[in-house]
Symmetry: C2
Subunit: 114 residues, 2 copies
């Protein structure tokens, strides 16, 4: 795949559309407490307002980069570079169309999930 | 917890009710190809008709025992000993009540999931 030159020196992130994601890949992406936290924070934020460094998760930069790659690969997150920042949106509608109800299970507040 | 003496020398299996399962635990239990296969075969069988050795999965006895423990712990499977056999049922209704739609995502045939 050819990619247009961006405003950043990094390669533009690769994405997988939810329609091309296996259910096993989607479940594995969500079966992680850090990634659940990222998805929940994204769901509570306006699209494209959250940079990767703005999340309240207890992991280093390399691990965070891996978690975002897993989320992109599962069709959960879309990213783009804006100058020095990489900003994010949750692919809520597309993911819901492919896996009805799954995101809601993760986003619903539940007293058992602390 | 006290347990009645069974007909087997093994300890009776411990179970977790779906109502006591965290969403992370449920997702992690289903995010595995062997366990998805076990759940799918159970869904296609009458309750209590399938012994643990009757599943078409490419794992050894110890690994299979671990997979069933994960499924019990996630409220997905109930087991009981009948003589020398340990037989299984999928906790379909209870799990559906706790995590609506989740089991259907795993059980629905999908040409992308091969």
């Amino acid at each position: 795949m050819t990619q247009r030159a961006g405003t950043s020196h990094r390669a533009a992130p690769e994405h997988t559309h939810p329609d091309d994601v296996l259910v096993l890949t989607a479940l594995a992406a969500l079966a992680d407490p850090v990634r659940i936290q990222l998805v929940r924070e994204l769901a509570g934020s306006c699209e494209w307002t959250r940079s990767c460094g703005s999340f309240d998760v207890p992991v280093g930069k390399a691990a965070l980069s891996h978690h975002f790659a897993v989320l992109r690969n599962a069709g959960l997150v879309e990213q783009r570079d804006e100058g020095p920042k990489r900003v994010n949106r949750l692919r809520r509608e597309e993911f819901e169309a492919r896996f009805p109800g799954l995101l809601d299970l993760v986003l619903s507040p539940d007293p058992r999930d602390r």
